[in-house]
Symmetry: C2
Subunit: 389 residues, 2 copies
């Protein structure tokens, strides 16, 4: 195991995290996956914010969702315009206060931002894994994250936190390593995808897989990118991240730079322009194989699979306290899904704080700067801080 | 104008419509479209059920939605397994009783089941229109349907009826030809698509247009079919036709012929298998250009566009009575959209019967055999029948 540049950034205590540097840790040993396959070795890209205390008790792990990365907060030294995806949540004086906590963002296996994934070289072939990268699960991610924690000397996290798919990782931590976290913070998440959730993922995957430029996942060596499929996949995703009302408010039936309909298949409505832009932007930076892998990890996540569908039984070994947050207009993972989590935890007499935030922004609300939501997280982390002293 | 085989089918008074024969009517004159373009001539495929009375006052026009056709009820003589799409609604003794009414189903311009559309020969080139077929609107369809009514000697319909996009046509009839219908029956419809509705249509169109086999709509002469894009488009549509709960009930997280996850990108879940099947089936019979045209007609429909967004003003000239029906779990065109129609009609002092049917099947409920729903329509049509005598 080797690490590069493990040091925390101390700049910018006034106005946010400031400049941060990506770090990479390499593990040379074999890593067994839930699928039965194994990786001969792997690396994880991560960032840290704040300082680890002497007792190493103030660490908070932030887990990312589908398309995000380990770049949670601050600005990259090489690309200062690239602000971390949860910069409004994590930083000095922010809800997850880096004056108090040592926060870690880590890129997951199978993703495309520096951790081992489909674009990495397959040691067996010397070429990128491409379509041969093994299917990974939320459990696999959590096990890999635990190895990073070991390397950093962190025996127990003050909290593991995430939104959406990130919330699934926080739940999985509480199940797989009950003694290694004091708090799990699960935001806009679900204990398992619904048939409708899986359906949307499957359509997105079909759009990618049936793009002729996908080449069974080996498009890198063909010098191709399945941009059309990726763009369609992202457009589908985007619709599910926003609420119907929010879309109506933001776009409605407004025409895009026109007075009348075009009577062709160009852009008529603002919403069309927005979705096309989002699709094209995404297809220029995200890896198609990673999209398939991560949507599959979403589909597969179901802690109750081993307990005959009983989520309370799946949580039986959990020791951490929980903060569970849902958003009123999130139709992707609606409040009812969070209720299932809360109910199953209460059946195990676990301490849970639950809040449904009345917010108009649908699933994406977990990334937004909502005062009620942020105050809730701030207060919860004051409790977390209390416990580490 | 020439007509072929205009005669009604009289068979099967006991057990449904029985065998029916498709009819085709050809109009040789130019037909101006809302877009400003024109068709040099056109034909309409249609079917009729029951008998037109001597006064020609008992005709009911049934308008189809996205992927349906003029084959509303009964069995085709050439393909007896092919039952009409609203056979549970239309027939002897059924809610729309063909012992009383003369029912007409007509395929719309731009569709792909016998009326003039993208697969028809463009008289200017002698080749199929393909991507050159002009964009058509709900208004255009209604004007074409009115020409069919003229040809059949029907001055005034007892009712014009449709579900979803078919309901839009019924509304447009009431606006464009207020004196030519006594009743408009608008089921599971909306006065205009929401941004989210348009978004889903746009993603479906992008899937088709970016399929390399689409060839800018001229795939016929390349001997190609953009099946991949069409399948993805249909899968997206299907998700929006079913309710979340219905999907959960029917499919849940059930695995497809497996005990455990596959850990690959084949089919794991039943819902994946279902959607793939639906997508592939659809792409084998539906025309890609028609899909684009009809989704565009959906997006464009907005009677209030000419009245500064005021739907009541758009309905100002309406004379017909209305039955408006919505379904509780329809999230594509939810009950609130029907409320807008009802409110605007009431503001014009029109007679409206409105019902929200509590049904689990989402948007597709309008096609289902629901006793409450069918009894409602049956009773309403008894009122319609009363008026024609």
């Amino acid at each position: 195991m080797t690490t590069k540049a493990i040091h925390s950034n101390a700049a910018g205590h006034e106005a946010g995290i400031g400049l941060v540097q990506e770090q990479v840790i390499t593990f040379d040993h074999s890593f067994n996956l839930v699928s039965g396959k194994a990786l001969a070795g792997f690396q994880l890209a991560f960032e840290t914010y704040g300082s680890l205390n002497a007792e190493k008790s103030n660490a908070v792990l932030i887990c990312h969702a589908l398309n995000a990365s380990h770049h949670v907060a601050g600005q990259r030294t090489d690309t200062p315009a690239d602000i971390g995806w949860w910069d409004n949540m994590v930083g000095p004086g922010k809800p997850v206060d880096t004056n108090v906590f040592f926060v870690i963002g880590v890129n997951n296996l199978g993703s495309c931002f520096g951790s081992t994934g489909p674009t990495s070289l397959n040691p067996l072939t010397g070429e990128p894994y491409g379509g041969d990268f093994p299917v990974v699960t939320v459990e696999d991610w959590v096990h890999a994250q635990a190895q990073l924690a070991d390397a950093l000397g962190i025996k127990r996290f003050a909290a593991v936190m995430g939104g959406s798919l990130g919330g699934m990782q926080a739940m999985q931590w509480a199940i797989s390593y009950p003694k290694r976290l004091a708090h799990a913070v699960v935001i806009a998440s679900t204990p398992r995808l619904s048939a409708q959730n899986i359906a949307f993922n499957e359509v997105a995957r079909r759009a990618i897989i049936t793009d002729p430029d996908f080449c069974d996942g080996h498009f890198y060596k063909e010098n191709k990118i399945p941009k059309r499929g990726l763009a369609v996949a992202r457009m589908i995703g985007h619709i599910t991240y926003l609420s119907d009302d929010d879309m109506a408010q933001k776009f409605g039936r407004s025409l895009r730079k026109r007075e009348d309909y075009s009577y062709d298949f160009g852009v008529d409505f603002e919403i069309e322009s927005y979705l096309r832009y989002q699709g094209e932007k995404f297809s220029s930076y995200f890896d198609a194989n990673s999209y398939l892998l991560i949507t599959k990890a979403l589909d597969y996540f179901d802690p109750s699979l081993k307990t005959q569908g009983n989520l309370a039984h799946a949580f039986a070994r959990v020791e951490s306290e929980f903060l569970v947050v849902s958003f009123s207009t999130d139709w992707r993972f609606p409040p009812e899904r969070s209720h299932e989590i809360v109910t199953a935890l209460m059946q195990n007499n676990r301490r849970v704080v639950y809040a449904e935030i009345d917010a108009p922004h649908g699933h994406d609300a977990f990334l937004m700067d909502d005062p009620k939501y942020h105050e809730l997280v701030r207060h919860y982390f004051q409790r977390v801080a209390h416990a580490i002293r």
